[in-house]
């Protein structure tokens, strides 16, 4: 069995080379390498993940943060199947943070399935092997004559049998079996993997049990709110603390001097109010008067506004990009050829907030130099590191409990709320739960960066794309782009067209940005796949044909080698087939649009069918989605759920925006941020294209294509091209 460092290092190279802009990957690989080392050395004991009880029930530890991706169900399913127990025997328990035992523990980049598929199968299969060895020893028979079923070892098809529970104490004395003796099941032997499995927390969720970070209570716990400057980086000159301290339930109120550098992840400046209940802290806040100093960071104020950014971008777009990402061929002569038909357009999209339904919060208890944290962070290891830094204590003095999160979407890759809770707990010498209000959450996010693109494409006389030029105007300082604001050299159609140029220019930004579900991809798919649709339109061709033709090309070494074009072509063909794309009828306010995108190791193509009424109200009636995430869907229920959610999420991104005005965020609660509701949800047809590739994740790949599929469908229905999101800017809304 090949399990190995190389395997992981391959993902490592991919994660870096593929340009995934997940914060974690910015960290040195040492974050992930200890796992690889421990594992390759054979030191990752299955006992760390599995507890088999005398009554033959099995506790399987879930290692990663659960943020709604279903990982607490799907990763234990992998172990349970290879261990060969029934799912009804299994109880899932959440592991605490300990990366020396569990390997990398994080939720991001749709990486849980690809990173854990082999290791966790090995954990389960090793457990099964140990049971067989123990039984064979007890019986004095050859292991090869023993089989397993539903948590029992059977001798020669069942004339003797022992439960795992009966063998457990003996197994504990065995050495780890030789890696070469471990074999995985064949897919045909799976009885848990690949079966619709309802989430392990569903009983607790549907009965309202305390389960989420916000529900955590610790004896003697106080609650805190932290009022921060609406303008990022503002510091406190003065606050009416004496008045606040007198208010009902308030135990303390104090200024956090903090660090005004918003990209420096220590604690941010603000005023903390600590009270017996959160509501008292929040109510006291209404009387809080803070004199903010926003002069510390000069670029904050008036020029940090959406309107000014738009003006700056409009100036930069027609110019040559300041920095090159990838260029080959001869773009200028290709576009200048008299026989070339040039299509040209500008695209733009706004800042977005993550808006997880559970606002940021964390409980912390600092006592005698030790810190205990209860958090829903997607990167709890990073949270611990930052808390250690901020408090000047050692990481080994911090215990982190990972608590179910009410949504992640990349927001909880950052950990400032973890640091805040730790900081306030130390200050008031009591356990403290810091909870942000929805307004805090909207105004202190790490936003999906806005961006602007100028595109030109050349078509030859046969309507083939011969040249593609793309200039991204994004945020950054000089050459360094802001988080999740850069593009990579593998962006479609790089390497698929004879003459190509991709470059960027930057505008300074004080607001902080960060990864949001399918970072980069959620914006670039809209731009690239919409423009491709216009190019096909100009050529009088079916966009499906144009895309398939490009995917069959290879120039200058081709596209990103980790994304074989035939996999994208495969899902495109299949979605066309399933949606009846070739027989579609458009016009008269009805239309279908198609788009495809590959990211986070997955490949997805989608078709949307919309109607648009005379007031430009769009109804998305139906969506088709085909994803290729390899050879095995671990939990079909959770996999479909990710696609269903991605379709709704992407549909919402046609409507929502975060605007900046004088350095502050304008939208501060859901009424100004119209996320989709039940009546707007289309009928969904979801399938998976099974291919001979190692299984990969689904948290992200199904989101990017739905956005251009919808806007392309609106074009088909109305002849109006949506080049700027949100589409409300062009007078469109969702019915």
């Amino acid at each position: 069995m090949q399990l190995s460092r190389r395997h992981f290092l391959q993902f490592g190279a991919l994660a870096v080379g593929g340009g995934l802009a997940i914060v974690l990957y910015d960290a040195p690989w040492s974050e992930i390498l200890p796992f690889v080392d421990v594992f390759a050395a054979g030191g990752l004991s299955p006992r760390a993940f599995i507890q088999i009880h005398p009554n033959n029930t099995v506790t399987i530890l879930s290692k990663d943060p659960e943020i709604g991706q279903g990982i607490r169900t799907s990763l234990p399913m992998i172990i349970a199947d290879e261990l060969d127990v029934d799912w009804s025997q299994v109880e899932v328990e959440q592991a605490d943070l300990d990366q020396s035992i569990y390997g990398a523990q994080f939720a991001g980049g749709s990486m849980a399935t690809p990173m854990n598929w082999d290791p966790l199968r090995t954990v389960g299969a090793t457990g099964r092997r140990l049971m067989v060895l123990a039984a064979a020893r007890r019986w004095g028979v050859a292991p090869a004559d023993c089989t397993t079923s539903a948590g029992r070892v059977l001798y020669k098809s069942g004339n003797r049998s022992l439960t795992y529970g009966e063998l457990a104490s003996e197994v504990a004395k065995l050495p780890l079996p030789d890696a070469s003796s471990i074999t995985f099941k064949k897919p045909s032997e799976y009885h848990i993997i690949g079966k619709f499995t309802s989430g392990v927390d569903n009983f607790a969720i549907t009965t309202g049990k305390p389960l989420f970070g916000i529900d955590v209570t610790v004896p003697g716990m106080l609650y805190a709110v932290i009022d921060k400057c609406p303008v990022f980086g503002g510091t406190v000159r003065h606050a009416n603390l004496d008045e606040i301290r007198k208010m009902s339930g308030v135990r303390d109120a104090f200024v956090i001097a903090g660090d005004p550098h918003t990209n420096n992840p220590s604690i941010e400046p603000g005023v903390a109010i600590v009270a017996d209940t959160w509501w008292q802290a929040q109510a006291a806040r209404k009387s809080l008067k803070v004199d903010w100093d926003t002069t510390a960071e000069s670029p904050t104020s008036p020029d940090q506004s959406t309107e000014i950014f738009n003006q700056k971008a409009a100036k930069l777009l027609p110019q040559q990009p300041a920095y090159d990402i990838r260029s080959y061929g001869d773009i200028n002569s290709a576009l200048g050829e008299p026989s070339t038909r040039v299509v040209e357009a500008d695209y733009a999209y706004p800042f977005l907030a993550h808006a997880t339904l559970e606002p940021m919060n964390t409980a912390a208890h600092y006592k005698d130099g030790k810190l205990e944290i209860w958090t829903q962070s997607q990167t709890p290891g990073d949270g611990r590191r930052l808390a250690a830094q901020a408090l000047g204590i050692s990481e080994s003095d911090i215990t982190v409990h990972m608590i179910r999160a009410g949504g992640g979407f990349g927001r909880r890759l950052r950990n400032e709320y973890v640091v805040e809770a730790a900081w306030v707990s130390r200050k008031v010498k009591a356990p403290v739960h810091v909870l942000w209000s929805r307004e805090d959450d909207f105004s202190h996010d790490a936003y999906r960066p806005a961006g602007w693109h100028h595109l030109r494409a050349g078509l030859d006389s046969k309507g083939r794309v011969t040249a593609w030029s793309q200039h991204l105007v994004t945020f950054g300082e000089g050459k360094k782009t802001a988080s999740s604001a850069g593009m990579g050299p593998g962006e479609f159609p790089a390497g698929r067209v004879a003459n190509y140029q991709l470059g960027y220019s930057t505008i300074p930004l004080f607001l902080r940005t960060g990864p949001m579900r399918a970072p980069g991809a959620n914006a670039y798919a809209f731009v690239g796949q919409s423009f491709l649709d216009e190019v096909a339109q100009a050529a009088g061709r079916d966009p499906l044909d144009v895309q398939l033709e490009l995917l069959a090309n290879s120039y200058n070494g081709g596209g990103d080698p980790h994304y074989p074009p035939e996999r994208l072509a495969g899902v495109l063909r299949q979605v066309a087939e399933e949606s009846g794309w070739r027989k579609r009828k458009s016009g008269n306010g009805q239309g279908m649009g198609i788009a495809a995108y590959a990211c986070h190791l997955g490949f997805c193509a989608q078709v949307a069918h919309v109607s648009v009424d005379s007031q430009n109200r769009v109804r998305v009636h139906e969506a088709w989605s085909v994803a290729d995430v390899g050879s095995q869907i671990v939990n079909p229920s959770a996999a479909r759920a990710q696609v269903e959610g991605a379709i709704v999420d992407g549909m919402g991104q046609t409507l929502i925006a975060v605007d900046l005005k004088n350095g502050a965020v304008v939208q501060t609660n859901f009424p100004q941020y119209p996320l989709p509701r039940i009546h707007q949800t289309p009928k969904m047809n979801i399938s998976f294209r099974i291919t001979e590739n190692s299984p990969t994740g689904l948290g992200e790949p199904a989101l990017p294509p739905i956005i251009p599929a919808i806007t392309n469908a609106i074009f088909a229905a109305t002849g109006k091209r949506i080049r700027t999101l949100p589409m409300t800017n062009s007078g469109f809304s969702l019915a």
Partner: protein
Amino acid sequence: MSLSLKINGQPVQVDVSPDTPLLWVLREHLDLKGPKFGCGVGSCGACTVIMNGNAMRSCITPVIAAVNMEVTTIEGLSEDGNHPLQVAWRELDVPQCGYCQAGQIMSAAALLQHTPRPTDEQINDAMNGNLCRCGTYVRIRAAIHKAADQANTAHSG
């Protein structure tokens, strides 16, 4: 101020300021963590409870308005967690993150009390105040239909 409430069939006394939102009385004084905080302005439905048969956003309902009312939270929806909606929710694996779901179920329960066999349109009207950031809406709709079918079969059979 001491107030008498009736929550999930039980009379309880709380000592709070009368303008405290019912949500925070439930969560912080009565330790009922089922109703969730999502927005505090009545626009997400995570805090939904049933008051005298109607779905209410407890984050914008002052506790004083709950005096002399029958308040039901997700914790009190059924004895054993087997209300037809709770069962359907699990069978169809509706939750993703799960944070909105207590509120979704309570809105759906109020709907089924008044309208045992809701149409899609009636589901839209009753449920569009409940935001699901994870986008579980197709399953929410399917689960409501399923629960309605089961409840009606049970009653007639």
